[in-house]
């Protein structure tokens, strides 16, 4: 099978995602999973296991200036 159409995507993934994937790997989702998961896993290395994504929204509010939390909406 010819995977030459995926060459530009290989470059893109390398630069933007730091994922070194061959055209064959891109064409095979099962192999893609491994490479993506490894990259994210390395990025997460050393971090505590976190809660669900909703914690992020709450944290934004928690870090806001105190005077905005007590004031009324304009």
């Amino acid at each position: 099978m010819d995977h030459s159409d995926n060459t530009s995507l290989c470059h893109w993934l390398s630069r933007f995602q730091r994922l070194e994937m061959t055209a064959e790997q891109i064409a095979d989702p099962a192999k893609s999973v491994t490479v993506f998961a490894q990259a994210i896993g390395e990025a997460a290395s050393g971090m505590a296991f976190d809660t669900d994504p909703a914690a992020f929204g709450q944290l934004l509010h928690d870090l806001a200036p105190a005077d905005l939390k007590s004031g009324d909406q304009k």
Partner: protein, 471 residues
């Protein structure tokens, strides 16, 4: 007189109209003339109906004569990125696919501007579906930088940047998912605010990435920007992701200066690979702050900042490709090459990995906030670490040099989107190629007020905002 009207700031022209020294029609005619003269060269206008613009202006003048100005933007001509829906009007989104799309509702941001009395006189060109940092568009006209038409406008709010910088309109809305307000503001020498995630309603704005998208203004001055954000910020029942936190008074104490303000300077990531000329200008702005009484403090940025690049790209690709799934299946050839390549990347990403990227967000923000805001009130960084490149470098997909270029192009913006923080672009001079150079101010969540205060303090110490490009 008419030639000088478009050169006024938004704050000044709004006051002149409110006081009756200028009519909205006079101002609008002056802008229409400038649009007629310059827009064909700049390719920044997607659509304009001059007669409809005049009608809006006449109604604004009639209204003011009868009952006074309706709001702080009464009668001021604005135009916006072509992704803000207005009922019954086309919103093309910089695409072939939506070239004929007519919305059945109006975006909340436009509604708030309408309520403040602003005119909406044109739709502005943009990067296809807001996915791209250079300004290049494969399928629709690519706007040109008024400072030099061969160079990037920055994207994706490319037409917004070009139009405001060329003094065609007084302000424009952009959207920012990975830098799309701040980058065109930086390339075109404007002030651009990416607000905190949830500060401005996204109802009726074309979505790209629900976890990252923000709505904000591009303007000529910090004061203009604060006025527009003041108008559009705040909770919106139509967008449940907006915050119920109170909106600060952005304009009231904007001029109190920076004496005692702690300004952080990062030791990691933001200065990586920076051009020497850019670094000189950016660091000179720190000298200005120090001279004005600010305290400059070194900040040890957590190493996890490096991960935010991959996270932002991944989240954008996954959420964008989900939204575009049916079109990618049925109309693949109607996308430009750069757009469909990035969306294709999202189609391949496993759900578990995407969810992990979102889950890590709180921890990375917590570490970043502790490192920065325990020591400083705001963080000061470069915005773009290189002189603004030429468009000739932006028309490919897989070329290694191009990919290196745009990786660096968003290195200071993408982390701020991932962290959900507010970021303000402030012009600070010109590099040797004659194109603008800027720095970025980053604040704690929902503290846009302090960014405006600091941006204003810098702006009044120099003359950058009064420099007008000769198109």
């Amino acid at each position: 007189m008419s030639k000088s009207i478009p050169l006024m700031t938004l704050v000044d022209v709004a006051k002149q109209i409110a006081d009756g020294h200028l009519s909205s029609l006079e101002v609008t005619e002056a802008c229409l003339q400038r649009i007629e003269d310059l827009a064909p060269k700049l390719k920044c206008i997607a659509d304009i109906d001059p007669d409809a613009a005049r009608d809006q202006a006449r109604k604004a003048d009639d209204k003011r004569a009868k009952s006074g100005a309706t709001g702080p933007l009464h009668g001021v001509p604005l135009a916006h990125k072509d992704m803000y829906y207005r009922k019954g009007r086309i919103s093309g989104c910089g695409s072939k696919i939506r070239a004929d799309f007519v919305s059945d509702h109006t975006s909340s941001a436009l509604t708030r501007l309408d309520d403040a009395g602003a005119l909406d006189i044109a739709r502005l060109n943009m990067v296809e579906f807001a996915l791209g940092v250079t300004g290049h568009n494969d399928v629709m006209p690519t706007p040109r930088n008024p400072w030099n038409t061969e160079h990037f406008t920055g994207g994706s709010s490319s037409g917004s940047g070009a139009s405001v910088a060329a003094r065609l309109v007084y302000a424009a809305l952009g959207s920012d998912t990975g830098g799309s307000i701040r980058l065109p503001a930086a390339c075109c020498g404007l002030v651009g605010m990416k607000p905190t995630l949830g500060r401005v309603s996204r109802y009726g704005a074309m979505p790209l990435s629900h976890s990252l998208d923000t709505v904000g203004p591009l303007t000529r001055t910090v004061g203009d920007n604060a006025l527009v954000l003041q108008t559009i910020a705040g909770e919106d029942k139509k967008d449940p992701t907006t915050s119920a936190l109170a909106v600060a008074d952005y304009t009231g104490q904007i001029d109190i200066g920076v004496k005692g303000l702690r300004i952080g300077v990062p030791n990691r990531h933001f200065y990586d690979g920076i051009d020497a000329g850019v670094e000189t200008l950016v660091r000179a702005s720190l000298d200005t702050y120090a001279a004005a009484g600010a305290e400059i403090v070194a900040i040890d940025i957590p190493e996890s900042i490096a991960a935010t690049n991959i996270m932002t790209s991944l989240i954008t690709a996954v959420e964008g490709s989900t939204l575009h799934y049916e079109w990618l299946r049925d109309r693949y050839d109607d996308y430009g090459a750069q757009t469909r390549t990035r969306f294709s990347m999202g189609l391949m990403t496993p759900a578990t990995v995407y969810h992990q990227a979102l889950s890590m967000r709180a921890k990375i923000l917590q570490d970043f906030a502790k490192a920065v805001f325990d020591k400083a009130d705001i963080l000061h960084t470069p915005m773009i670490t290189m002189p603004i490149p030429k468009y000739s470098k932006s028309d490919s997909v897989g070329d290694q040099a191009f990919l290196d270029l745009i990786t660096r192009f968003g290195q200071c913006t993408r982390p701020i989107n991932y962290l959900g923080l507010p970021g303000l672009n402030v012009p600070c001079g010109f590099t040797d190629n004659g194109l603008p150079c800027s720095f970025q101010l980053v604040g704690r969540p929902f503290d846009e007020k302090t960014l405006y205060r600091a941006g204003y303090a810098y702006e009044r110490e120099n003359n950058w905002v009064n420099m007008v490009p000769e198109v």
